[in-house]
Structure formats: structure tokens, C-alpha cells
Subunit: 201 residues, 2 copies
Amino acid sequence: MQDNLLGSLVDALRCLPGVGPKSAQRMALHLLERDREGGRNLSRVMAEAMERIGRCTRCRDLTERELCSICSDTRRDDGLLCIVESPVDVLAIEQATAFRGRYFVLLGRLSPLDGIGPEELGLDMLEERLDTEPPQELIVATNPTVEGEATAYYLHKMAEARGISVSRIAHGVPLGGELEYIDQTTLAHAFGSRQSFTPGR
Amino acid sequence: MQDNLLGSLVDALRCLPGVGPKSAQRMALHLLERDREGGRNLSRVMAEAMERIGRCTRCRDLTERELCSICSDTRRDDGLLCIVESPVDVLAIEQATAFRGRYFVLLGRLSPLDGIGPEELGLDMLEERLDTEPPQELIVATNPTVEGEATAYYLHKMAEARGISVSRIAHGVPLGGELEYIDQTTLAHAFGSRQSFTPGR
């Protein structure tokens, strides 16, 4: 078991997020003992994905084509443009909502101290898109962190200057959450952002 | 993000034990966004491991060679033979102890109902080894489950018939464990297997 090839496999598996030495060992042995076909398939698909998957030229999402499937889908609504930080956010929104508009993926958030400015986020590309094909509504879905808020603010300015209406997804107490377990910042925000209540609306 | 190649990668990652749809997604995106080199390397090593790693012809451990590194290490003690259920157990013992003897990997445990008899565990191979090169001591390190105990009993009989002394690793309260949190079976076993106590030994 101290052999080089098995050791290399265990080491290589550790590039996966959340996989430590014990899990990597367990994964390697599982594949070798019970699922070689799965391992071969994973190896094949991964090699292909690493080489071929790039960025959509329009929305910067991950895709192996020039345009991702969302950008090339003619049935989607060009009037709604949702701005997210990362490809995972696109997946999350697609899985959870019935949103049928377009996306733009920033691949990060404004963070001048880390050298991430508007250009790194492709905001020049977005600006051009807002100029040439302005949507009716820009939906800002950056994460509610300090940098995410700064990014949202920047996006708001950008859209406002072009007369595009901007919305931001709601932040507050999660459904099913209980007030006593919610962190103070979220609760304070939820309290401050209270909305008029019309039962049965 | 609904593209086929990315979807295939997420699906393929799910062959890893303990990886559900969300983790697979996170792994795929992590590799694509931050560690393509790691992904390429993993793909390469995995392909090689799946093809080349087989069984050691002497101890049945996993290796890409005819003999594993432990069996081919001439400095190890032929007089001690440790019987374990799986390659993970070899790794665990090697990492935790200073054991310098040999191993034999059963790759399972006796379970007649599942069709796992002595032959499936390579016990004929082990029997031949005990006949031709008998060790001084056979250390039985099967897991303390019903099947593991049955296997231990079988191994004991086999060694006894050849006049080889047999030992079994100790089972009881884990170090650092507290009696009140130990399960009843373990505690009862530990109580029954109490040993004479000589402080400072």
C-alpha cells in the first residue's frame, strides 16, 4: 500500500475541495476495489472537461461552446438580465426558480485591495451590452457580503446612468428559519427591509 | 451551465464515495475555475491507476507490481503475519503502529449467506503459505463484527492445526474514551477481557 501509483492517486484526489488524506484514501480504494469502470469514466470525462470547457463569450459562464446553452436559447427573455458572481449561482437560480431571462457571470466581486476592479469582472463587457441591447430590468444577485454589496452598488450606478431599472434579490430571514437562531445582521436587515403586508396577496 | 460536458463531469464525480450532487457540482466548478492543472493530473493518474493497479500475488494487497512493496521488502520480519480484511486496514496499521512483519489481505470476511467462503478470501492461498513458510505468530486483525469474529475463529483453527501461535488485536475502550459514552457491547467486552494490572509496567 506504500506503492507509488496508489500514493499518487491518493495525492491527486486531494485537489478536490473538501477532500483530506483520509477521504482521498477511501475514494482511491473504493474505486480500485469496487468501481474501476466509474474511475475510468471519471478520468476520461475529466480530461475532456479540463481541455474543452471555457467561457461563454456573451455571459462568461462555463461552457464548452462559443455560447452557453442559456445564451443560445432563443426562447429566453432578453428583457431580464440577472447578474451573479459565479457559475454556481447560475446553477442555483436555475434549479430553484422559474427565471427565464439571461445571465451575466462576474466571476468574482469588486475587491480593489485584491486587485479585482471592474475590468476583472468583465464590467466593460457588461457596459457594452447594456448600451447595445439594454434589458428592461437588471436583477442584481450578488452575495450579501461587503464586496458583494459594493459590486451591487456599482452595478446599480451603471444601470441607473442608462435608465435601466434595477432590482436586487431579497435578503432576510430564510423560509423555515426561526428568528431566535438567525444571526443578528440578517435579522437587523430583515427588520429594516420590512415590507407592507397584505394577507392573501 | 446546462451544458452536457459539465453535466457529465458532475455525474462522473458522483462515483466517488460520499459525493452527492451538490458536492460533485462544487468539485467540478472548483477544478474548472481554480485548478485545471490538478484536474488534468487527477485524470491522468486515475486512468493509469485503474489500468495498472492489481493484486499482490503474495498478500493480495493492492499494487501495480507483481509483489507489493511490503512483500518485496527484505528487511521485514517473516515471523509475524498480520491478517486484515482490507487494504485500508494495512494502511491504518502501517500508519499507527511500528509493525514490521508481513500482511495477508482477505478482501472480505467469511459470510456464507453472501456466498463468501474460505476460497473467496484466498484462505487456500494462506493455508499453503502457512504450510510452506509458517510464521511464528499469526496476528488476527479482522474487524470486531459478527463476520469478522467468525473469520477470526476460522483463522485460529487453521493456525492451531499447524502449531502456529495466534494472537488477536485487543478490543475494548478506546484511549481517550469515557466509559459513560462507550456502547454497551464494547464495555461488556472490555470488562470481560480485563487483564492483570501492574502499574509502571
